[in-house]
């Protein structure tokens, strides 16, 4: 589709290489797993503050 999803072409296969097959897929994935748990931290803090 628009040449965005590309076949794997790097020398060696690896987990990170597998994720790195489209536009920013790998880096967006990593950013998401880093940022998402902060939502949980936010609500747990909110609960603490309400007490």
């Amino acid at each position: 589709m628009f040449g965005l999803i590309q076949p794997f072409t790097d020398v060696n296969h690896s987990f990170f290489g597998f994720l790195n097959q489209g536009p920013l897929t790998l880096t967006i994935f990593l950013h998401t797993v880093i940022v998402l748990p902060m939502i949980w931290i936010y609500f747990s803090e909110k609960k603490k503050l309400k007490k």
Partner: protein, 230 residues
């Protein structure tokens, strides 16, 4: 977002930011360590057997090949699938007039790398693009047309091969000036010079994801006033 009651806003709570900072830092470190293990596996030097297999099958196996790569012809060509230039290891060719066994090649590369550090090359040149910017980048220096047959350096040093031209130059660089800015004499011995050339040849075989781009394709065109924009 902030709650009307100031004490209830998470956004101004030190403990929220502290916990978030601890989580983000800790997890980024874990990811980096994981990535490092993955990369270590990919940039470890290959073996001579890997190299022979890669040449036989005509495909790349190691990003950093075995030291015995100095026994082969190396090229740097556009890869359609990768979208940039990649090193291409070709047929065997003698290096300083002989074929080097895995043990000999490793010893020579070791001497070369030691010399490169001992002579502080990196504070004028760049290696893989890192270093100082006073002298040319050495990443693909082995493949530079200036040093190939027909290039000025073999004629100037009165030698017949790239390796001999480089070795002779390295031992007495200020005797073979190419520009007002010269390389100083660093007391490099004949053996050390061979090692450095082996190091350079090996470095040119490393897969650098296409850096530098369009390596030395158009010097002649530029000099004759030519252009790539046809």
């Amino acid at each position: 977002m902030a709650n009307e009651n100031e004490n209830l806003s998470v956004w101004t709570s030190i403990s929220f930011w502290r916990r978030s900072a601890a989580w983000v830092t800790g997890f980024a470190v874990i990811l980096l360590i994981w990535l490092t293990f993955d990369t270590m596996g990919q940039i470890s030097m290959g073996t001579d057997a890997d190299l022979q297999k890669a040449v036989a099958e005509g495909k790349e196996i190691n990003r950093v090949p075995a030291p015995t790569v100095i026994n082969y012809h190396i090229d740097y060509k556009m890869s359609k699938t990768r979208g940039h230039e990649v090193p291409v290891i070709g047929a065997k060719e003698p290096f300083f007039g002989k074929e080097w066994s895995p043990k000999e090649a490793a010893a020579l590369l070791h001497l070369g790398k030691l010399t490169v550090q001992a002579k502080n090359c990196m504070n004028c040149h760049t290696l893989l693009g890192n270093g100082a910017y006073y002298a040319p980048d050495l990443t693909k220096a082995w493949l530079d047309p200036a040093w190939q047959k027909g290039g000025p350096m073999q004629a100037m040093t009165n030698t017949g091969t790239t390796e001999e031209a480089m070795a002779k130059f390295l031992q007495n660089p200020s005797q073979y000036p190419t520009h007002a800015r010269m390389m100083p004499n660093l007391g490099i011995t004949a053996q050390e010079a061979k090692g450095v050339v082996a190091f350079l040849k090996h470095m040119s075989s490393i897969d650098t994801n296409g850096f530098p781009r369009n390596f030395s394709k158009t010097v002649e065109q530029f000099k004759t006033g030519g252009t790539n924009a046809h």
